[in-house]
């Protein structure tokens, strides 16, 4: 040993290190960073843009917008605006198709109304009475609330919708009202998502902390076995884990069979374990538990055991020694795991989709619904952007408490 360190010392002192150039490092990082910017950052920015963008639709309504400005009127405009609106409908068929779809997001039924009106435009007198005679909805204030909203190039409407609110009077800025009772969905989903995330964090911490402690004390084969049990679900593909929970929780599933077979539960009154909030929370806790165990274990491994015994020697009860010595030392690991689980569970989609049913779905499911089924990309973009903001805030918090990387002595 002494020899090697002797022979090494002079090498250290004369070792010639070229001044590291920053260009080489940047060139090495560039391909991956470009890939991420191109296929993740830019798409996300575009999503954020879509959530406020209304330029094309506003363009299709340019004459209507001009007329509205020149002839301000009550909730239902006068003849000049109707005439301009008629011209806009006739002017640009492609723009009108977009307009009709967009208006439908602001007010249900507008898509068919606009399409029907455009198709029959030749038969309609281009004034207020003519339009209202054709369809009485043209005389309703809510129709014109939607159209007036669509004349702006930048709209906050999707963000308001994502919070169950809407613009009450599009002509004045910041006039916001809550949506009618029956149309509120999102606030309930946001609060459910926060509740589920916090609940899963607590379950994982309560179950994970003792497991991490056990791992940090175990040695040899016991350690290998226990660590294997934690890592096995971690590396098993998510769908295999979800499939096994479906087998367990089904109404004819393993758990219900055991309950009925042991006579605890009557065969007719088996509890509903799948497709509800309970299943979402249970399976999410299962999926995220390793994320609570591993960071806590990493921190516990570096804790000086002598401090705990010192506290005991000095007369502290084991409980007191735990709360005032051991827990504060391991808290960074618990916090890191907890915040990570909060961040991950906030964006969960697949698990609630497959085991949660309607009562167990989360905000991630509504993003997918608005994106791929209702094709309301603006609302999906607004929900995504808000979700990302929450997650970014939590990730910054995570950076602040992250335990320093382990160093081997």
């Amino acid at each position: 040993m002494a020899e090697t360190s002797l022979s090494r010392a002079p090498v250290r002192t004369v070792s010639w290190r070229p001044k590291p150039s920053s260009a080489v490092g940047l060139c090495l990082i560039a391909p991956l960073v470009l890939l991420v910017i191109l296929f993740l950052v830019l798409p996300l920015l575009r999503f954020a843009f879509l959530s406020v963008d209304n330029i094309n639709v506003a363009g299709a309504l340019s004459r209507t917008a001009q007329a509205m400005k020149n002839h301000p009127a009550g909730p239902v405009p006068d003849d000049a605006v109707f005439a301009a609106f008629g011209q806009d409908l006739a002017r640009d068929p492609e723009g009108v198709a977009k307009l009709a779809a967009r208006l439908n997001f602001f007010e249900g039924g507008m898509n068919s109304l606009v399409r029907k009106t455009t198709a029959q435009l030749g038969k309609i007198e281009p004034n207020r009475v003519g339009f209202i005679t054709f369809d009485k909805r043209w005389g309703e204030p809510k129709t014109w609330r939607a159209i007036s909203l669509a004349t702006h190039s930048v709209i906050p409407e999707y963000y308001l919708n994502a919070l169950d609110m809407r613009t009450s009077d599009p002509s004045s800025a910041f006039s916001i009202e809550a949506k009618p009772e029956g149309q509120r969905i999102y606030l309930r989903l946001w609060s459910r998502t926060i509740f589920v995330a916090l609940f899963v964090v607590s379950v994982c911490t309560l179950v994970g902390y003792p497991i991490a402690y056990y791992l940090s004390k175990a040695r040899g084969a016991v350690f290998t076995c226990a660590m294997g049990l934690v890592l096995l679900p971690f590396w098993t593909p998510l769908l295999a884990r979800i499939a096994s929970w479906q087998v367990l929780l089904e109404s004819n599933g393993v758990i219900n069979s055991i309950l009925v077979g042991s006579g605890l539960v009557d065969a007719a009154s088996r509890p509903q374990l799948l497709n509800n909030l309970f299943a979402t929370v249970l399976v999410m806790s299962y999926v995220l538990l390793p994320y609570a165990v591993l960071p806590t274990y990493a921190v516990m491994n570096r804790v000086q055991p002598s401090l705990f015994s010192a506290a005991l020697t000095l007369g502290a009860s084991p409980l007191r020694a735990f709360f005032s010595v051991y827990l504060p030392q391991t808290l960074p690991g618990v916090l890191a795991g907890g915040i990570l689980i909060f961040v991950l569970s906030f964006g969960f989609y697949l698990t609630p989709e497959l085991v949660g049913g309607p009562s167990g779905s989360l905000i991630g499911n509504l993003i997918a619904y608005n994106f791929s089924q209702s094709l309301n990309w603006g609302l999906a973009g607004a929900l995504s952007t808000m979700l990302l903001l929450v997650i970014a805030a939590a990730a910054l918090l995570l950076r602040a408490v992250r335990p320093k990387p382990a160093r081997k002595a």
């Binding site: 090498v11 070792s15 290190r17 001044k19 920053s22 080489v24 940047l26 060139c27 090495l28 990082i29 391909p31 991956l32 960073v33 890939l35 991420v36 296929f39 993740l40 950052v41 798409p43 996300l44 575009r46 999503f47 179950v207 497991i211 056990y214 226990a226 934690v230 890592l231 096995l232 679900p233 590396w235 098993t236 593909p237 998510l238 769908l239 295999a240 499939a243 096994s244 087998v247 367990l248 004819n252 599933g253 393993v254 069979s257 299962y286 538990l289 390793p290 961040v343 964006g347 989609y349 697949l350 497959l354 991630g364 993003i367 997918a368 994106f371 990309w377 995504s384 990302l388 997650i391």
Partner: protein, 271 residues
């Protein structure tokens, strides 16, 4: 107290392991449904069979899914390991500016919720005409798997002795030769582990493929998803069991690579 904690820990470990263990015997059922029949509980041999495994390996859909998973997974693993190794080297070098920013960017695919990523990628790919193509799926999986490769390889570079690189260049080797003869052999276990983890990430990915892939690109998890939604047949459990064994293999391989990596670190320190 001590005993109570121990019982709590055992319950926690059982909670982690049991769901996976429950499906393994059930995948060998000879029945049509995913339930333990009384005969199975009584360990009657006729209640068990390998018929669902045979069904899976003879089914056209599952074979297509398996081929796709292998092709997409291996391609994405190779690409993300290539980009990931370069990036990890760049992030570990002294003198690279703004490391925090680059690290945050590279790790972003791990933090952004997958459903948001999927939406963003769909929107981008529909402009680039990459929806329903293998190229598109492989690019997406490369982006998603690269952080795993970077984390694994960077961890081994933290213990790397840069004096060896300096020595090699003092002796006249160019950067490529140094990489091939000095750096790569030392970090090889971590690179291999990174590639394995990247492959596992791609194999586990369903949401993005569901958004941007077509029927032609359906992978094993997509085929499972179809099965879970439509008809619950024990064939899914046979596949799930195979995936659990795949996880065991990954666990063992990663442990082997970690030990080798440690051994290299020890050797270089002694040398």
């Amino acid at each position: 107290m001590r005993h109570l904690i121990k019982i709590w820990v055992m319950l926690g470990l059982a909670f982690l392991a049991l769901p996976l263990l429950v499906i393994i015997p059930l995948s060998f059922t000879s029945g049509q449904y995913m339930v333990y029949t009384p005969e199975m509980v009584a360990l009657d041999p006729s209640a068990y069979s390998t018929k669902w495994y045979l069904e899976v390996i003879h089914d056209r859909d599952w074979i297509l899914a398996l081929k796709n998973s292998l092709f997409i997974g291996v391609s994405a693993a190779l690409l993300s390991t290539l980009f990931g190794t370069l990036a990890a080297l760049g992030l570990s070098r002294a003198g690279t500016p703004m490391k925090g920013l680059w690290t945050a960017l590279i790790l972003m695919p791990q933090i952004v919720p997958i459903v948001v990523t999927a939406g963003g990628i769909y929107a981008a790919f529909s402009d680039l005409k990459l929806i329903g193509t293998y190229t598109g799926v492989i690019i997406a999986h490369t982006v998603l798997a690269a952080p795993v490769a970077v984390i694994t390889i960077r961890a081994s570079l933290e213990r790397f002795d840069w004096d060896l690189v300096a020595a090699s260049s003092t002796l006249g080797a160019g950067p490529l030769l140094t990489f091939r003869k000095v750096t790569l052999p030392l970090i090889r276990p971590a690179v291999i582990a990174g590639a394995i983890f990247s492959f596992a990430t791609s194999l586990d990915e369903v949401v993005v493929i569901q958004f941007i892939g077509a029927y032609k690109q359906k992978t094993v998890p997509i085929q499972m998803l179809i099965g879970l939604r439509e008809h619950l047949s024990p064939a899914i459990l046979a596949v799930a069991t195979m995936l659990v064994f795949f996880a065991v293999v990954i666990l063992i391989l990663s442990e082997v690579m970690r030990r080798r990596s440690d051994a290299y670190a020890q050797n270089t320190r002694k040398a």
